[in-house]
């Protein structure tokens, strides 16, 4: 551990100058905590009034300090340079006291590229189109189910999670009869304390190991079958590689797409004029989804410096964590004119919801199509909607931003 300086408050390493320490914290700042009718994105956007890079003590889930990078340009520098800024963090394996990377997320170049090239064709924009009929059918089934039950619903549990998770399970080749159980595991892993996290990691691994074993003897048409049959540089993947990839795709698909659906509907429910805009111009839905990805992205990539390096005047030292919140770079006024305005016709929308660099979200093309289909089918079937009287959606920051208790009323 780096030594502490008494002048800068607790948990600030000695090499961090006092003027580089910021008070913002991705977990503990007031707007980042669970907040009724909150807007954590606007709070992060305000960071652009300050420096592009600053040190935030205790800003990761496990209470470590990190440099927070807010500008799009500096985030591009960090995330495009996997040699200086390593992705290896053992996020999953540390939960069970082991030491292995989830693949390819926690690998660095050049190792990363080999696995990524193997997986890319499965998730390319052209290939993803084959999944659209399934996504549409599932979205229609869920929305019609809501309508049959009444004129209000809690969107996360009754629409967003069931849709996102069933699409992903279908892709992986996992039956969706235990869907909400999987959602619970993801919630325990990503949003709860160490004990729940460890238990959830064991449950997920146990389940995936069982699936892998099954697909070796009973091949299907799915991603798990692809993994057990795949070859890398002329050899089959070993069991550890297969589970390391399966874990990533399992976790990646459980939380983020559902979160995006929820955040979009949360915004639209409070802005009836924007709902009307989408009803009047259904063709702008793809562009509107891009803009809401820019305005409400949920993920914060974190890297570890592999050498001492200066970034916007800040002395980053080998071993320091470097945090690149997508919700900061996507509201950088130097990159996006008028960043606080949600403009469904925005051009040049090179937002960072799926990060920059070689680790660009592998599932981004599937995620985009899911969001567009989910909202198109929603608007085709549900009349103007609002937050149900007497209820209060809760927003939160942290590792994955989101919203819960989102009860919409279309009576």
């Amino acid at each position: 551990m780096a030594s502490q300086s008494p002048n800068k408050g607790p948990n600030v390493p000695a090499h961090v100058p006092p003027e580089c320490v910021g008070s913002f914290n991705l977990y503990k700042s007031p707007e980042m905590r669970p907040t009724p009718f909150g807007d954590p994105f606007a709070a992060v956007g305000k960071l652009h009034e300050g420096p592009s890079v600053f040190y935030s003590p205790e800003t990761t889930r496990d209470g470590q300090g990190a440099w927070i990078v807010t500008s799009a340009e500096d985030q591009r520098t960090v995330l495009q340079d996997g040699t200086t800024f390593s992705s290896y963090r053992r996020i999953f394996s540390s939960a069970i006291g082991e030491d292995w990377p989830v693949i390819p997320l926690e690998l660095d170049p050049p190792e990363h590229g080999k696995y990524r090239s193997m997986l890319n064709p499965l998730m390319s924009p052209k290939r993803i189109a084959a999944l659209e009929p399934f996504v549409t059918a599932k979205a229609v089934e869920l929305i019609e189910g809501l309508k049959a039950r009444g004129t209000s619903a809690e969107i996360m549990t009754e629409f967003a999670f069931p849709l996102a998770v069933s699409v992903f399970l279908a892709f992986l080749g996992i039956p969706d009869d235990r869907l909400m159980e999987f959602v619970g595991w993801a919630n325990e892993l990503l949003h709860m304390g160490p004990a729940e996290r460890t238990a959830a990691a064991h449950k997920i691994l146990g389940f995936l190991d069982g699936m892998i074993a099954k697909r070796k003897t009973e091949p299907g048409e799915d991603f798990m079958t692809f993994l057990v049959q795949a070859e890398l540089e002329g050899r089959p993947l070993n069991d550890q590689e297969i589970r390391s990839i399966a874990v990533l795709l399992f976790i990646g698909g459980l939380d983020t797409v559902a979160t995006a659906i929820g955040l979009d509907l949360y915004y639209l429910a409070r802005n009836p004029d924007r709902q009307q805009e989408l009803r009047d111009n259904p063709d702008i839905m793809p562009s509107a989804v891009e803009e809401m990805l820019r305005a409400f992205p949920s993920v914060t990539p974190i890297r570890t410096a592999t050498r001492d390096v200066e970034l916007s005047g800040c002395p980053i030292r080998k071993g320091d964590l470097v945090s690149c919140p997508s919700m900061a770079s996507s509201r950088d006024p130097a990159e996006f004119p008028d960043p606080e305005t949600v403009d469904f016709n925005r051009e040049d929308n090179r937002h960072t919801a799926f990060a920059y660099g070689p680790h660009r979200c592998l599932g981004s093309h599937l995620a985009r199509r899911e969001l567009i289909i989910a909202l198109q089918e929603w608007f085709a079937r549900i009349p103007p909607f609002r937050i149900k009287d007497g209820t209060a959606p809760i927003t939160y920051g942290g590792f994955v931003f989101g919203v819960e208790n989102l009860v919409l009323d279309w009576s």
Binding site: S117, N120, S124, K126, E347, T352, S364
Partner: protein
């Protein structure tokens, strides 16, 4: 006008391909094919939009 594609910087966002699929071809992985892309005069505006849509700044207009 020519657009230069930097395959090393391309991360497969495919925003250029979404805007102008006839100009920007992707490989089987969903990444831009390397090399120079000649742009017909009537498509220069569209190509410019596609260049500006690239989150990685992997596309560059090199000749006007």
């Amino acid at each position: 006008m020519i657009v230069k594609a930097d395959r090393d910087k391309c991360a497969g966002h495919a925003r250029c391909w979404v805007l102008a699929p006839n100009l920007f071809e992707l490989d089987d992985e969903g990444y831009i094919l390397p090399g120079d892309i000649p742009i017909p005069p009537e498509q220069e505006q569209l190509a410019g939009r596609a260049v500006r849509a690239c989150p990685e700044r992997a596309l560059q207009i090199v000749k006007d």
